[in-house]
């Protein structure tokens, strides 16, 4: 038996072996007449139905005592069974779309049923719609960073810089930030291009937020290229440290940008940040003729409108990410990630390919930042710290570098932890153990532990990319003649 090369595998196997029930599952089942051979002789749906029944039984034992079993839990399980048991993929072209379609439908209707959902054990209540919006924005950022870290293998420790650029671009161009002041106290600059419900007397630049999402993305991508060009010729950890440097410089620029170089030019409004950003919406004309919502912020179902917009943005991000991965450019990224020298020798233009990875990752970071600024109606320099970059990085690593679906799950889960889950877990722990620990205070310590454990025991993440998994299990090319490090 060949020993897997990636670190921690031995300990992981020990842990798995010590889980005796799992190890002896066939012996136990065999006692009831179900041997492994017989099980595998069953038709596939029957096998899956059996597994689903076992999962259901285990969940019943675990979830039941915690929060009780209500209708929503049963319906959730029924949907899981309906999607998992039949072999949808074998039903031809239409069948392949059943599972993604079902997930999309579930995601789109999320605001309607989230209030009636069951309580998750330990983690607490199901995320509400506003938490859902934040989760989706983080998913977008995670998938964007995944292009840089997962596809191209460039460790970016300053992703927050792109997010900040996007947020500030959108917030300054859709608010009274550049209004200025004339002698009478009125605005000197007033430019309105599609801004919704703008008070004209206050002045400032008010460009349509829809347009700004694109503008912020493109502007961030250009800045990403400019940052990337001098630094991308460095490799590995040097690049990581330079991106970290940019991630530290830009928030400082944001914080001190109310008086740039002592000239009195106020670009970012300093520590207060840019506030009261314009609302997003379709305006009165489109509202009158097409019935589209006029103004998202003042609408009765404000959270839902923000949620659906976020879903569209995430869909766009995932679509681009997947198509890019399978393109010529995506293959070049993966080639660079696997072996830069070999890729260069095969004619992959290193600089252009890396710069594009950087620019595309920056684009999504910028759009996410712009939309986040819109959701929180402004940009605040305090939210842009190194911790933020690491937070997004943990999403990518936990989910599985290079795998969009893994990153999606990792980002949604961590964003939920950040928004509500950690506080709920802390409350639960304190309640049951009779202690008083402020769990959210140690948020980043907990992420540190997650990061360490994932790297040691499951370096390819929870849902790994197939290529990465092979890489880690069979080892990368350079096998030493004499393995000195394990002695």
């Amino acid at each position: 038996m060949s020993e897997p090369l990636y670190p921690g595998a031995r300990l992981r196997d020990t842990l798995r072996d010590s889980w005796r029930i799992w190890r002896h599952r066939w012996a136990i089942l065999g006692a009831f007449g179900l041997t492994e051979e017989r099980f595998h002789a069953w038709p596939l749906p029957a096998q899956r139905a059996f597994i689903a029944a076992c999962v259901g039984a285990v969940l019943l034992v675990i979830v039941g005592p915690f929060s009780g079993v209500d209708l929503s839990a049963l319906i959730t399980f029924a949907i899981f069974v309906a999607l998992y048991v039949p072999s949808w993929k074998r039903l031809g072209r239409a069948g392949r779309w059943v599972i993604p379609g079902a997930f999309l439908a579930l995601a789109a209707t999320f605001p309607y049923y989230t209030d009636t959902m069951f309580t998750i054990p330990v983690l607490g209540a199901f995320p509400d719609t506003h938490t859902g919006v934040v989760m989706l924005i983080f998913v977008m950022m995670g998938v964007g960073l995944n292009v840089v870290v997962g596809y191209a293998g460039l460790l970016d420790l300053g992703y927050v810089a792109f997010y900040a650029i996007g947020a500030y671009t959108a917030a300054t161009l859709a608010s009274t930030q550049f209004a200025g002041q004339n002698a009478q106290g009125g605005p000197t600059l007033s430019f309105i291009f599609g801004g919704i419900d703008v008070d004209k007397s206050l002045g400032g630049i008010h460009i349509s937020v829809w347009l700004l999402l694109v503008v912020a993305g493109l502007f961030t991508a250009v800045l990403g290229m400019i940052i990337g060009l001098p630094t991308l010729r460095l490799r590995g950890d040097y690049l990581a440290i330079v991106t970290l440097g940019f991630g530290e410089i830009l928030p400082q620029v944001a914080r001190k940008g109310d008086n740039l170089f002592n000239t009195g030019v106020n670009v970012t409004n300093g520590p207060q940040g840019v506030t009261s950003m314009d609302a997003i919406g379709f305006g009165s004309t489109l509202h009158k003729y097409l019935g589209l919502p006029e103004n998202f912020e003042s609408a009765a179902n404000s959270d839902r409108l923000f949620f659906w917009t976020a879903i569209l943005l995430v869909l766009f991000t995932i679509f681009c990410s997947l198509r890019l991965r399978d393109s010529r450019l995506g293959r070049a990224w993966i080639a660079i990630r696997e072996d830069e020298t070999a890729a260069a020798a095969m004619g992959v233009p290193l600089m252009r390919t890396k710069t594009l990875a950087y620019a595309i990752g920056a684009f999504f970071g910028g759009v996410a930042g712009a939309y986040f600024a819109e959701v929180t109606t402004g940009a605040n320099p305090d939210s842009f710290s190194f911790n933020f970059s690491v937070f997004v990085l943990v999403m990518v690593i936990l989910g599985g570098m290079g795998n969009v679906w893994g990153v999606l799950v990792g980002a949604a889960f961590l964003a939920y932890l950040d928004q509500a889950g950690l506080a709920n877990t802390g409350a639960w722990l304190n309640n049951h153990l009779g202690i008083a620990i402020d769990v959210p205070k140690y948020e980043f310590g907990i992420y540190g532990v997650i990061l360490l454990l994932v790297m040691l025991f499951r370096p390819h993440g929870l849902i790994p990319e197939a290529r990465h998994r092979l890489e880690f299990e069979q080892g990368v090319a350079d096998e030493p003649l004499y393995d000195a490090t394990t002695t």
Partner: protein, 362 residues
């Protein structure tokens, strides 16, 4: 890679001008810096001297941290992000020890009582931090020896966060100050002036002592690395791990030893920092660590005298920027300037001031 470092535009420019533009731009920047310094010296000589003295003092503290970065990078090619946090823990340990009843330290004590105790605190902190650093290596880096290079870098960030949160859990989110457990001022280092000059400028014994600790540590370290058998093992392991193992060097023990030394340097820096600046906060280590790392890169990573030189330069850049008046960006921008220096160094001279050209450095 030397070949892919030269981009198309650069080559085109070089062909048309007959010169390589990159060193010229770098040279122009250095000349600008020197002109700026000279004008400031001419306009406000006293402030300049004061800034210089403070810069050298700060720089020598950074130097002790930077030595740890450079040692570890030299042997493992790993940026030990947790190093700054080990330094921070060192400061916390030192403050706790000084404030504890066991030592019974008071600022007013006579020198022959005070100094042995301070040295005892220093030694205990050094040993403690050395062990912390070696433990971090054992848990977070050693299992990942064969993994791709970015993997230990990520666990280093994880270790940094974990150490920070250990400090947060044990000491809270506020500054831990030296005099918290004591009555009166916390001036353990003698505050008397060695000399004074115009404009209220002065140079204190405390500053000199900081410098006096850094210099012997550097020489002891150089002796250790260049003259002893253990140092030879370290250099061999840094050059080629497999070959070193074949020559009978216990690679893992050598790496652990390196981390122990690096950690104890961070412990020394933490103690001095605690004595000189009298307060430490749980998240300070990371920032100071990044500054020290910049210093190590500036001096040429892997090069011991380079780390100290880089640290002195970074200390000077910081204080010049903070205190000079003629066209200085001011303390608001210090952090940005330090990282700007880092980026410029990596763009124009990735091998640093005293280092050798490496493939990674372009």
């Amino acid at each position: 890679m030397v070949t892919d470092a030269r981009t198309g535009e650069q080559l085109a420019l070089r062909r048309s001008l007959g010169i390589n533009p990159v060193p010229l731009i770098g040279l122009a920047l250095v000349v600008l810096l020197i002109v700026w310094l000279a004008i400031n010296l001419e306009k406000t000589p006293n402030q300049f001297l004061q800034a210089f003295l403070i810069g050298v003092t700060n720089g020598s503290v950074f130097g002790l941290i930077a030595l740890g970065y450079t040692l570890v990078y030299g042997i493992l090619e790993l940026i030990n992000f947790a190093h700054g946090d080990v330094f921070m823990l060192g400061g916390m340990i030192a403050i706790t020890l000084i404030g504890s009843d066991v030592f019974g330290l008071h600022p007013g004590q006579a020198a022959y009582v005070l100094w042995p105790k301070i040295i005892a605190v220093l030694v205990i902190t050094m040993v403690g931090c050395g062990l912390i650093n070696a433990t971090v290596e054992r848990i977070a880096y050693r299992p990942l020896r064969g993994a791709p290079r970015l993997v230990p870098l990520i666990t280093a960030i994880a270790a940094s966060f974990i150490l920070q949160n250990i400090a947060l859990a044990s000491k809270g989110a506020n500054y831990v100050t030296l005099n918290s457990g004591l009555s009166g001022a916390a001036d353990f280092l003698p505050q008397g002036n060695i000399f004074t000059f115009g404009g209220g400028g002065r140079y204190t014994w405390a500053s000199l002592i900081v410098l006096m600790i850094t210099a012997p540590v550097l020489f002891a370290l150089l002796w250790l690395v260049q003259r002893t058998k253990q140092g030879k093992a370290m250099r061999a392991t840094a050059q080629d791990r497999e070959a070193a193992a074949m020559m009978g060097i216990n690679v893992n023990r050598t790496i652990s030893f390196t981390f122990l030394i690096a950690g104890s340097l961070a412990g020394a820096a933490g103690t001095i920092y605690a004595l000189y600046f009298t307060s430490v906060r749980y998240d300070q280590g990371f920032q100071l660590g990044l500054i020290a790392f910049t210093a190590a890169v500036l001096g040429g990573i892997g090069n011991l005298p380079g780390a100290v030189l880089g640290a002195l330069l970074i200390g000077l850049i910081q204080t010049f920027n903070n205190t000079l008046t003629w066209h200085a960006p001011g303390s608001d921008w210090t952090q940005s300037i330090v990282f700007g220096v880092l980026i410029l160094i990596l763009v124009f001279r990735p091998e640093g001031l005293l280092g050798e050209r490496t493939p990674e450095g372009g």
